[in-house]
C-alpha cells in the first residue's frame, strides 16, 4: 500500500510541475503566437510562411512559432492559461478573458478596426427598429452582442425588447437559412455569405461605430517586460507585411492572394473583406490612434458593456474593477489592478524607423 501511495505522490508531483511550468515569465529565447482566421489577422500566417517573421526573429536572436488555432475562443483561453506568449484577439475579449482573469496583457499592435465586418441582418424588415420582439441569433457575449447593444441604443430600444439566442459562429449561415430565424448578428466571412441569401437586409453595421471593435495582437505583459526583443520582432514583422500587402504591384497582389488562400477564400473574396476592415497600414497611423481620445472613449463603452453583462467576473463591483492603461500613463478604472495596457512604444519605434 505504501508503495502505491509513494508512486501516486511521484506522479502527482510530476504533473504538478508540468502544470506550474506553463506561464513562467523570465528571459527566454523561444516565443509563441496563436492566431485565428480573420481578415485583419491574415498577415500573421503570411508573415510566418514567407519568412518575414523568421527574418525579424533572427535579427533579435530569438525564435517565434506562429500557430493557427481553429477555434477563436479556444485560442484566447490557451493564451490566458499560459500556453502562448501572444495571441490575436479583439479589445473586448482582451478585457473580459485574460485581463478579467488576472493575466496582465499588453495590446502591442492595434491592427485594424471593424468597419462593416460585423452587421445586423434581418429578414422582412427595412430598419433596425423592426428587430423589436424578435429572436436574435448571435454569439452571445461576443463583439456581435456588443454591436447589437450599440445598435439597439441608437434606435431607443434595449436588450429587453429582443430575445438573444446563443448560436455558434460556425453554424450561423445555415441557421439563417432556417425559416424560423429572422434576425442574426454575424461577422465576416459569414456576414457576406448571409447577405447573398434572398430576403437578407443589413440594417446596422460596425461602420456606424468606427474604432470600437478593435483587432489586436496582445502579448503577456510580464513576458514582454522581460523580453523587449519579442515585442520588437513582432512589430517589425507586422508592419513589413502590411507595407507589402498594401502595394498595388505584383508582389502586393501575390501577398493578398496568399492571405486569401490561407483564410479559405480567393483574392477577390479577401479584398472584399479588406474593404470592410480599416487597417492601420503604417505604424504612425496606429500610434496616432493609440494616443487619441477616441480610443479612451470606445474603451469606456466596451468596458461598460462588459461590466453590465457580468464579463468582468462576479467579484467586480463596478466597471472600474479592471484597470486599463493608455500610452502616457493615463488609467481607466482601478490603478491598483491594471491588467490591460495599450502600448504605443513598440509601434513608435517602428514609426521612427528604429527597429
Amino acid at each position: 500500500m505504501l508503495k502505491t501511495t509513494k508512486r501516486a505522490i511521484a506522479i502527482a508531483t510530476t504533473l504538478l510541475a508540468i502544470a506550474a511550468g506553463g506561464a513562467g515569465a523570465a528571459e527566454k529565447k523561444d516565443f509563441t503566437l496563436a492566431w485565428t482566421i480573420y481578415a485583419g489577422w491574415m498577415p500573421w500566417p503570411y508573415a510566418a510562411e514567407s519568412g518575414i517573421v523568421k527574418k525579424w526573429a533572427d535579427k533579435y536572436g530569438i525564435t517565434i512559432t506562429v500557430t493557427q488555432i481553429n477555434d477563436y475562443v479556444e485560442s484566447i483561453n490557451q493564451y490566458t492559461a499560459g500556453k502562448f506568449d501572444a495571441v490575436t484577439v479583439t479589445n473586448m475579449d482582451t478585457l473580459t478573458i485574460p485581463a478579467a482573469g488576472g493575466v496582465d496583457s499588453t495590446a502591442l499592435i492595434i491592427g485594424d478596426y471593424s468597419n462593416g465586418n460585423d452587421g445586423i441582418v434581418l429578414k422582412k424588415g427595412d430598419t433596425l427598429a423592426d428587430i423589436k420582439g424578435r429572436k436574435v441569433n448571435l454569439v452571445e457575449l461576443s463583439v456581435s452582442h456588443y454591436l447589437l447593444a450599440r445598435g439597439l441604443e441608437s434606435v431607443k430600444l434595449s436588450e429587453k425588447d429582443v430575445t438573444v439566442v446563443n448560436t455558434s459562429d460556425a453554424d450561423i449561415v445555415s441557421a439563417f437559412a432556417a425559416p424560423d430565424v429572422t434576425a442574426v448578428v454575424p461577422w465576416n466571412p459569414q456576414l457576406s455569405e448571409i447577405l447573398k441569401m434572398p430576403g437578407a437586409k443589413q440594417v446596422f453595421s460596425s461602420q456606424q461605430i468606427p474604432g470600437e471593435i478593435l483587432d489586436l495582437a496582445v502579448v503577456n505583459t510580464a513576458v514582454l517586460k522581460d523580453n523587449p526583443a519579442f515585442g520588437k520582432a513582432l512589430v517589425g514583422a507586422w508592419f513589413e507585411t502590411l507595407a507589402l500587402m498594401r502595394q498595388d504591384d505584383a508582389a502586393g497582389t501575390a501577398a493578398r492572394e496568399a492571405m486569401g488562400k490561407l483564410s479559405g477564400t480567393t483574392l477577390e473574396g479577401y479584398e472584399a473583406q479588406l474593404k470592410t476592415t480599416f487597417m492601420y497600414y503604417t505604424p504612425a497611423a496606429a500610434v496616432a490612434f493609440a494616443k487619441s481620445p477616441e480610443l479612451r472613449k470606445s474603451t469606456d463603452l466596451v468596458r461598460t458593456f462588459s461590466f453590465e453583462h457580468g464579463l468582468l467576473g462576479d467579484g467586480a463591483k463596478s466597471k472600474d474593477a479592471v484597470g486599463i492603461a493608455f500610452p502616457g500613463g493615463e488609467v481607466l478604472g482601478s490603478k491598483d489592478n491594471v491588467k490591460m495596457r495599450f502600448d504605443a512604444a513598440f509601434m513608435g519605434l517602428a514609426a521612427d524607423g528604429k527597429l
Partner: protein
C-alpha cells in the same frame, strides 16, 4: 504455496477504500495543480480553488439570476432533461417497433435492414445545416438530433437480439396455433423489453453528447448552453460544477434504468444467475 493473486479478495472495507482511492487521487492532483497555478496568479481561471468553486455553485444553484429571476442551474437542468427525455423516448419507441419488425418479418427486413445499416453510419453533426432547414432552430431540432443520433443504433441492436432468439420458441408457439401477431406480442416483445432497456443504458452517453452539441449550436438555456456560453470567458468555476452535475445525472439515469429492469423483469436475472 501461498494463495494465488487471482484468488485473493479484498474485504468490505478494502473494497470501499480501493474504490475511493482513484477519486481521492484525482482530487488531490487537482488541489495541488490548482494551488500551484493560483500561487502564480491569484485570479487563475483554469483551475479555480475550492472557495471559488463553492461560490460559483452558490451563485448558479441557489441564487436567482439578476437578469431573468430564475435559478440558472435548475432552469438549465429542466430544459436539458426535457429534451433528453423526449429524444430518448421517441428513439426508444422507434427502435422497439422498427427492431421487432426488422427482426421477425422477413419482408420488412429485406426492405429496411440495409437502409438502416447505412443510415446509422451517417454522422448527424455533419448534416446539421439540413436539419436546421427541415426542423428549424427551436426545440424540435435539438430533440431530432438526439433521435437521429441514437435511434439507428438502438434499432440495429434490437434487430440483432430478435434474430438471436432460439427458433424453437417461435416454432413451439406456432404449433400451438399462434398467429404472427400473437408470436410478436406474446413471445418476442416481452423478451425484448429488458434488452431494449439495457441498450438504452448504453446509449445514454451518446444521447448526452448529442444533447450538449445541439445546445452548443443554438439555445437560450440548457446545461450545454451554459457551458459553451461561459467558456467564452474561461469560467471554469462554473463549468466544472456543471460537468460534475451532468456526470451525476447520467450516472443516476443509468442506475434508475438498471433498477427498473431488475424490478420489472426479474426473470431475466434468475436465468443469468
Amino acid at each position: 504455496m501461498s494463495r494465488r493473486l487471482i484468488n485473493q479478495r479484498p474485504g468490505r472495507a478494502g473494497i470501499i477504500y480501493l474504490g475511493a482511492l482513484p477519486f481521492l487521487l484525482l482530487l488531490l492532483l487537482y488541489a495541488f495543480a490548482s494551488a500551484a497555478r493560483r500561487a502564480e496568479n491569484p485570479n487563475d481561471k483554469l483551475l479555480p480553488g475550492a472557495a471559488a468553486l463553492a461560490d460559483a455553485v452558490r451563485r448558479v444553484a441557489f441564487e436567482p439570476d439578476k437578469r431573468t429571476g430564475q435559478i440558472v442551474l435548475w432552469s438549465d437542468t429542466a430544459a436539458s432533461l426535457t429534451r433528453l427525455a423526449l429524444g430518448l423516448a421517441a428513439a426508444t419507441t422507434i427502435a422497439f417497433v422498427g427492431g421487432l419488425a426488422n427482426g421477425i418479418i422477413p419482408y420488412v427486413r429485406a426492405g429496411l435492414s440495409p437502409f438502416v445499416a447505412v443510415v446509422s453510419m451517417v454522422p448527424p453533426m455533419a448534416i446539421l445545416p439540413i436539419l436546421f432547414i427541415v426542423f428549424g432552430l427551436g426545440e424540435l431540432s435539438k430533440v431530432m438530433l438526439i433521435i437521429i443520433g441514437v435511434a439507428p443504433c438502438l434499432l440495429r441492436d434490437m434487430q440483432l437480439r430478435v434474430e438471436e432468439m432460439p427458433g424453437e420458441q417461435l416454432i413451439k408457439a406456432q404449433t400451438l396455433g399462434a398467429s404472427s401477431w400473437q408470436v410478436i406480442t406474446r413471445v418476442v416483445a416481452p423478451q425484448m423489453l429488458p434488452r431494449l432497456l439495457d441498450s438504452v443504458r448504453l446509449q445514454l452517453g451518446p444521447a448526452w453528447l448529442f444533447l450538449i452539441s445541439a445546445e452548443a449550436i443554438a439555445a437560450e438555456q440548457g446545461l450545454g448552453y451554459r457551458i459553451f456560453l461561459v467558456r467564452r470567458y474561461l469560467a471554469m468555476d462554473v463549468i466544472l460544477p456543471y460537468v460534475a452535475w451532468i456526470t451525476f445525472l447520467a450516472f443516476l439515469a443509468d442506475f434508475v434504468l438498471r433498477r427498473l429492469n431488475r424490478r420489472c423483469f426479474p426473470w431475466l436475472y434468475v436465468s443469468r444467475a
